[in-house]
């Protein structure tokens, strides 16, 4: 029998994490959270979450980094903004969830072969290369890198899309692709310079 302490101690907190989350762009109002729970009540995914949005708000502003970044909630959020528009203290809950997702990706806290970070990577590579997204190509690339079996399972859907003309085989590309690359490089440079 493995026994674990079930009460959290103040000493478990990471003050740097608490400072970081309350200074993220759009997330400043996290300190005003009343813990009323409207966000969790309005969230269509909260019934699948280990920590609901209300609990995540409190845990993250207090600095319980391990619990927060290890939480399934970060990956369940679909950015539907129901939490945010219903928050009586106008806290940008969705944007805070985005910040947590970005941090979890940076620190590589996800299961091996997990589709969301792979999808994010493939998406940004395609934007950089073509300037636009060709959905069918994106999906194939993501599943090639995560689960070939699921890709095979989707061939029926692929055929239907092809038959109804909804899956172009040619990749959509813009003319001034070099402009998009310059744009992306400039963002990276300014981000470094301003440390944001």
């Amino acid at each position: 029998m493995e026994l674990k302490r079930t009460i959290k101690f103040e000493a478990d907190r990471d003050p740097e994490f608490a400072r970081w989350i309350s200074h993220t762009v759009g997330g400043e109002r996290i300190r005003h959270c009343l813990q009323c729970g409207l966000c969790s009540g309005k969230c269509p995914l909260s019934l699948y979450m280990d920590y609901t949005p209300r609990r995540l708000m409190h845990l993250s502003r207090e600095g319980f980094k391990e619990e927060v970044l290890g939480s399934s909630s970060i990956w369940l959020c679909t950015a539907c903004y129901a939490c945010m528009v219903n928050c009586p203290k106008s806290i940008n809950v969705t944007h805070l969830l985005y910040a947590l997702k970005q941090r979890a990706i940076e620190e590589k806290r996800y299961p091996r072969g997990f589709a969301i970070p792979v999808m994010a990577r493939q998406f940004s590579d395609m934007v950089r290369g073509s300037g636009r997204i060709t959905e069918s190509w994106l999906i194939v690339k993501v599943f090639l890198r995560t689960s070939i079996w699921r890709l095979m399972g989707m061939s029926g859907l692929g055929l239907k899309l092809l038959r109804t003309g909804r899956m172009p085989l040619m990749r959509d590309r813009i003319e001034r692709r070099a402009d998009v690359q310059k744009l992306l490089d400039s963002v990276a440079a300014t981000r470094k310079e301003l440390a944001i």
């Binding site: 679909t78 997702k101 970070p117 934007v127 909804r166 400039s186 300014t190």
Partner: protein
């Protein structure tokens, strides 16, 4: 006035029927549009969730390009509409983001002056064209076709100001002007799961099923959507969701397909043949004599 038109990537792929029918609606109602030249991907929810700063610059390029010629942009895709709006808000509110975007645009010879307004076709059709004008041009009345108006998330939340965030009604008002009838559909702004079907399938299928079964229970004959991803999810995974729960047969159309049909556009020019759940039996049942 001519509007700038920003189709976005989905309308060139899975959402082709949305673009085909929307352009037919604009033609029938004399709404003049011009596609933004050489537009790029707005970054969508995927980019926004992992690299927000870069996505503001990507959206900024489209805004700056549109601004050169037009004062209003029409963005039909829910994700594009949200990202373009959010970018405008964040550029206004955060000087650091403004700096990043301005510098990036400067390297490619563009400038963004915050002089362009981002609008959704629902907003334009309801407030600029007006339902009365549409009603007067109806050639094929929809004969009381029962629709479940499904808005999804990103059109109404968090930035849109043209409709109520909890109980929007613009889609019903437009389609009722063509003779359709909307059913009670309290899940109209509940999330379909977005790309969840691809990443966490069980969860995605549950959400998809709730939306479909609610529409069926309330007597809808078709679900009408405004978002390419909602349309794709509800239609393509209907069988899978049915296998997991209980089966539904519910055609899922873009609101613009019904509008275009009512305005007299031939069925095969507005993407009706691209659907997976057949709609024509429903039209036959309602004696809708489409072109």
């Amino acid at each position: 006035m001519k509007y700038a038109y920003y189709p976005g990537c989905s309308l060139r792929g899975t959402g082709r029927a949305y673009e085909e029918s929307l352009l037919a609606v604009f033609r029938a109602l004399d709404v003049e549009i011009e596609e933004i030249e050489d537009w790029n991907c707005c970054g969508a929810t995927t980019y926004m969730s992992v690299d927000e700063l870069t996505s503001y610059a990507l959206a900024g390029r489209n805004l700056a390009l549109a601004e050169q010629k037009h004062s209003e942009i029409i963005a039909p895709c829910a994700a594009c509409y949200l990202v373009l709006n959010k970018t405008q808000h964040y550029i206004r509110d955060y000087p650091d983001i403004r700096t990043v975007v301005n510098r990036a645009l400067d390297t490619i010879g563009l400038k963004y002056c915050d002089k362009v307004r981002v609008r959704h076709p629902l907003d334009v059709l309801l407030n600029d064209v007006k339902p009365e004008t549409i009603a007067a041009k109806v050639k094929v009345p929809l004969n009381g076709l029962k629709i479940a108006p499904y808005y999804g998330c990103q059109i109404v939340r968090p930035y849109s100001t043209f409709d109520d965030q909890g109980n929007p009604t613009s889609m019903e008002r437009l389609l009722e002007a063509c003779g359709a009838k909307s059913v009670h559909y309290p899940l109209k702004t509940t999330c379909c799961g977005g790309s969840q079907k691809g990443t966490l399938p069980e969860v995605g299928l549950d959400l998809i099923h709730y939306l479909l079964s609610e529409a069926q229970r309330n007597g809808a004959e078709v679900i009408t959507t405004v978002c390419p991803l909602c349309q794709f999810n509800l239609e393509s995974f209907q069988k899978e969701a049915g296998d997991r729960h209980h089966p539904t047969t519910m055609p899922v159309l873009y609101f613009s397909q019904l509008l275009a049909l009512a305005l007299g556009a031939p069925a095969d020019t507005i993407g009706l043949q691209r659907g997976f759940v057949p709609i024509k039996p429903v039209f036959a049942n309602k004696e809708i004599a489409y072109a």
